[in-house]
């Protein structure tokens, strides 16, 4: 089980995967906006999306788990 935390403070624009999707390390899984810049959040490890914990539009920071991978 691996958590995908927000890499930095910002606004979560979209979650780009669904529960059950298989992802590989460095695949884009979400999009964050910080300083008017859209930043892709990349998967930290291979896995399957187990749960999506954050909603698009939310303000997030590194303590927030966006999704979990199993």
């Amino acid at each position: 089980m691996a958590n995908v935390n927000a890499p930095m403070a910002g606004k979560l624009l979209s979650v780009d995967v669904k529960v059950g999707d298989t992802v590989k390390k460095n695949d884009p899984v979400a999009t964050l906006e910080a300083m008017k810049m859209q930043i892709k959040v990349f998967a930290p490890a291979d896995g399957k999306v187990a749960e999506i914990k954050a909603e698009a539009g939310a303000n997030i920071d590194p303590s927030v788990v966006i999704m979990t991978l199993e």
Binding site: P7, M8, N26, M35, K36, M37, I39, K40
Partner: protein
């Protein structure tokens, strides 16, 4: 039958054309012959096709530059929010006879009502050779927001509202990199003096080295207003071209391993909300006591940040970081682009200014990166050298560049907020440097030192 003066390219030719269509069937042959004589006259043809006949090689070169900027912004994703309006503004300004903007500014007197009254009294124009013109829509924007620095300051409120100074507060040592980024100012000053620019000209050009548009305009207005056009264009152009200029220099100065180095946010100790609230107030008071001339820039940036951190004015924060920032970016980009006419841009002095500015930005970048490497030699907690390149005032473009280059090297690398800390300290550094220059020049002038001649 009324014949307009066909030498008036704006209106006269069209009046003649209208008269031809309004000619009733009963008109005599003499009138028709007179009209035919006018419309076959070379001057008439020259004016009726004015868009083509006034098109020069300078227009073509500048339109090409505008198209390149649009291509880089829209197709290559290099700062599209700035490069697209700048590129389009450049195209608009270089299409002949559009009268949207008049540059260089000192060649024109604008026809406001009070000036109209002075004109009727035979007192206009004040400047010999200046043309009295009506304001174009881009003139209105220029006077409303560029000439008086309002647009950059509005933008700074938005940027302050968007900025989390947490990384800087959590890692205050990166402020040293903001000092390293000021190297460009002094490098440019020495180079400009060596090339033969006057001392005050050299100082105005040197401030471009901080990549700081508002401060450049402020210094140039104070010491050499004649250079305001080229210097502000150079400063804003380089701010927008930072995404193009910095990456090759950053890559040249670092190894792949260095670029891949991940800087975590978790390693930093969180700062309290009270510290974040106090920070903009303390910085405003301390820096403006040291450098009062940086008030507009520092005051608006810190005001925006205080709105964000105080937590009581959510609607104002929303407006500052969205509506105000977006509208200002649009107008700023379009207007700055529109000052890039061939007449102003394609001259030896301007090209010299641009060449010096280019060297300065490259120097800033390289010294920032090497400053970070030097810091790593003496520090337990290593940093990614790429963030050193953000110690300039191009805010937040330079921090974004560090993020982009770092993320390309390693997708798990998110440098943005670390680079923001360096970028904000670079901004504070450039304003302080400019303010110190103003103080020193003022003191020298008070002592009677002649600074106008080399």
């Amino acid at each position: 039958m009324f014949f307009a003066d066909y030498n008036d390219h704006q209106y006269g030719n069209w009046l003649v054309v209208i008269q031809i269509f309004m000619l009733d069937e009963g008109s005599g042959n003499n009138e028709m012959e007179a009209i035919m004589a006018v419309i076959t006259n070379n001057d008439f043809l020259y004016n009726v096709f004015g868009g083509f006949t006034h098109f020069t090689w300078q227009s073509a070169v500048m339109i090409l530059i505008g198209c390149t900027l649009i291509y880089l912004g829209a197709a290559k994703d290099y700062e599209p929010l700035l490069l697209v309006p700048i590129g389009f503004g450049c195209i608009l300004a270089n299409l002949p006879l559009t009268e949207l903007i008049h540059v260089p500014r000192d060649g024109y007197v604008f026809n406001h009502s009070i000036q109209e009254a002075l004109g009727e009294a035979g007192l206009m124009p004040f400047v010999e050779g200046a043309r009295v013109v009506n304001e174009g829509i881009l003139d209105v924007l220029y006077n409303a927001g560029i000439a008086n620095e309002l647009f950059p300051c509005l933008l700074f409120i938005g940027i302050g509202a968007m900025t989390d100074f947490g990384p800087l507060l959590q890692n205050p040592r990166v402020m040293l990199l903001g000092g390293a980024g000021q190297f460009g100012i002094f490098l440019t000053l020495m180079l400009a003096l060596a090339i033969g620019y006057d001392k005050l000209e050299a100082i105005c050009i040197a401030i471009i080295g901080a990549c700081d548009g508002p401060t450049s305009i402020f210094i140039t207005s104070m010491f050499n207003p004649a250079l305001l056009g080229p210097i502000s264009v150079a400063a804003y152009s380089y701010m927008s071209l930072v995404p193009l200029i910095q990456p090759p220099v950053m890559k040249l100065c670092t190894t792949k391993n260095e670029r891949e180095f991940v800087m975590s946010y978790e390693m930093l100790t969180p700062v309290t909300q009270r510290t974040k609230i106090l920070f903009p107030i303390v910085v405003t008071i301390v820096t403006l006591l040291i450098a009062p001339s940086g008030g507009a820039l520092m005051g608006t940036l810190m005001f925006g940040n205080f709105l964000r951190e105080c937590g009581a004015v959510g609607r104002l924060v929303q407006a500052a970081e969205n509506e105000i920032a977006n509208i200002t970016t649009l107008f700023l980009g379009l207007t700055v682009g529109a000052t890039m006419t061939g007449e102003v841009f394609l001259t030896a002095k301007t090209l010299g200014i641009f060449a010096l500015g280019f060297i300065a930005i490259c120097g800033d970048t390289a010294f920032g990166v090497f400053g970070a490497k030097l810091m790593n030699l003496f520090s337990k907690h290593k940093i990614n050298p790429l963030i050193g390149a953000s110690g300039i005032s191009a805010f937040p473009m330079s921090a974004r560049v560090a993020q982009k280059v770092g993320n390309e090297a390693n997708p798990q690398n998110y440098l943005l907020m670390h680079a923001m800390g360096v970028n904000t300290s670079g901004q504070i550094g450039s304003v302080l440097t400019a303010s110190v220059m103003i103080a020193i020049i003022g003191a020298l002038q008070t002592m009677g030192v002649d600074l106008t001649i080399n």
